[in-house]
């Protein structure tokens, strides 16, 4: 569908920023259109847990005035966005924290504000202590889940309830809802985006990153939020580049590695339609000029359980002082993580770190020969809500799967839609790059996206 025929709430950030820059679209008009959309459909999708409509409209009016005076701050200026509850927002501390203090605005939130974005509010996530809050529904079929734990981000972006969102990913929580909801999602390299103001799950695995409708929007959001933060000692000094320079359709000569043995290891737990769509996507990359080769990462089959061991131990350590309260009032997933962390010995934790070190070495060797990896991003299309139990995600986290290995190794990883299942639910390809080489994963994803144009499909809600 052409841009002119699109409702304003379904504009991409890339489209909207150009219209705002050219003063053909007002941030006030855009924000109002999104708020109207929220009023119309969030009763079905349940994405928002704290809608900040009044302050959002005030921010939109300020953006409009600044732009009218010639002070356009950049592509995020006047763009309505929303964030996963896990990120602190001044005046709306993270509900998920329960027993830890918030910091005002998380650094990534502050950076988006500095870039002129309009903050619409906080979005639902898995494991909130408020058990009475209805879980978000997948806009492609409201009988199905959005994927977690950035559940509200998936529903909101796919449903036109914001133009982009910040999520958090410890074991797939950006990539999973992106895949289930037909969106683009980026878990940048560990340290690329500050974790300051992010309610911790696992200090060495938590990644903050953008979820949006197209790859261009991820580049714009990453430009706004990337960079070193003195308040996060794990944030990196590696120079930030302009990620929009990746937005060119060219994978000619790009070497794409396919970890075939690992995919085969996961295949018994992966729907055939996912393997088919991902193979088709890899064939498309080949037809666009990429050189595709199978690669071996011998220890990758242990990466998921190593990720889980580190996750649950760091979760236990982060919540030790409040563990009694978590066990009394926390959500089932959080209680289970405490038990699993308690059951893990120090030798297990150290062994998990050694596996992490070995996987990094093996991947470093593989990346001598290839520019990126391509593999599935999910075991199947989004399941029905009635078929999913409160701790089902944990079963995924302890057997070989597609997400945890890249939290463990901290590599930049993109989720990009690669088609639909027989019952019209989205499926995604995962593209993994070298440390701090977000440019290559964005370029590969953008080239594929522009060729296939899956983003032109939109859900009917």
């Amino acid at each position: 569908m052409a841009v002119a025929e699109k409702p304003l709430y379904y504009l991409s950030i890339h489209e909207a920023q150009q219209l705002i820059k050219d003063r053909k679209l007002s941030p006030v008009e855009l924000t109002q259109a999104v708020l109207d959309r929220i009023a119309a459909v969030d009763g079905k999708l349940h994405a928002y847990i704290n809608l900040m409509a009044d302050s959002a409209m005030q921010e939109a009016r300020t953006a409009e005035m600044e732009i009218a005076k010639g002070n356009w701050r950049g592509p995020m200026h006047g763009i309505p966005i929303a964030v996963k509850d896990q990120l602190d927002v001044a005046g709306a501390p993270a509900r998920i924290r329960q027993f830890t203090e918030g910091v005002g605005d998380a650094t990534a939130v502050r950076k988006l504000r500095d870039a002129g974005a309009v903050m619409l509010g906080k979005l639902h996530m898995s494991s909130l202590p408020d058990a009475d809050l209805p879980a978000p529904r997948n806009p492609w079929n409201t009988e199905h889940i959005t994927g977690g734990s950035s559940t509200g981000s998936g529903a909101a972006v796919a449903g036109g309830l914001c133009l982009g969102s910040l999520g958090e990913d410890t074991a797939g929580s950006i990539r999973n809802p992106s895949a289930f909801c037909g969106l683009a999602g980026l878990k940048g390299t560990y340290g690329r985006v500050s974790r300051h103001g992010l309610a911790p799950l696992s200090w060495s695995l938590d990644h903050c990153g953008p979820i949006a409708r197209v790859v261009e929007d991820l580049a714009h959001m990453l430009n706004a939020i990337a960079g070193h933060d003195p308040q996060d000692p794990t944030s990196s000094n590696v120079p930030v580049v302009d990620y929009t320079t990746a937005l060119r359709e060219n994978v000619k000569g790009m070497a794409v590695g396919v970890p075939r043995a690992y995919i085969d290891e996961c295949a018994p737990r992966t729907d055939a339609i996912v393997l088919k769509r991902v193979d088709e996507a890899i064939d498309q990359l080949r037809s666009l000029g990429a050189r595709v080769e199978d690669v071996k990462v011998p220890t990758l089959h242990l990466a998921t359980i190593a990720n889980a061991v580190i996750y649950y131990n760091e979760f236990w350590a982060a919540h030790k002082s409040a563990a009694g309260e978590v066990l009394k009032t926390g959500a089932p997933q959080r209680r289970a993580r405490i038990y699993l962390g308690l059951l893990t010995g120090s030798a297990d934790y150290i062994q998990a770190q050694r596996i992490r070190s070995r996987c990094r070495s093996e991947l470093a060797e593989v990346f001598q020969r290839v520019d990126c990896l391509a593999l599935p991003n999910q075991a199947g299309p989004a399941p029905r809500m009635k078929d999913v139990g409160p701790i089902d995600t944990l079963f995924k986290h302890v057997v070989p799967e597609y997400h945890g290995p890249f939290n463990l190794t901290g590599l930049p990883t993109l989720s990009v839609p690669c088609g639909f299942s027989e019952n019209n639910l989205p499926i995604a390809l995962q593209i993994v790059g070298k440390p701090f080489d977000e440019l290559t994963v964005l370029r590969a994803g953008y080239t594929y996206q522009q060729h296939m144009r899956w983003y032109e499909h939109r859900p009917e809600i």
């Binding site: 009394k328 289970a336 038990y339 308690l342 059951l343 297990d348 050694r354 992490r356 070995r358 701790i391």
Partner: protein, 63 residues
């Protein structure tokens, strides 16, 4: 849940001054058993004596 694992979990909970929420051990028994089974896999690979976990470095790289 495997009896030994359950006894171990109850012992460490007690050591930490914690009590499981009623019903949790039954509700989580399957994931706990699966996790503990897969934990053994972690030690199935011979990493050799020199494969280190993250290394301590004494230099001051702080803020």
């Amino acid at each position: 849940m495997n009896k030994l694992i359950e006894e171990n979990l109850l012992a460490v909970l007690k050591r930490e001054g914690l009590e499981p929420k009623p019903g949790d051990l039954e509700q989580f028994s399957e994931i706990i058993d699966l996790y503990m089974e897969n934990l053994k896999q972690l030690h199935s690979v011979n990493l050799g004596a020199e494969e280190l976990a993250p290394v301590f470095r004494p230099e001051w790289t702080g803020k």
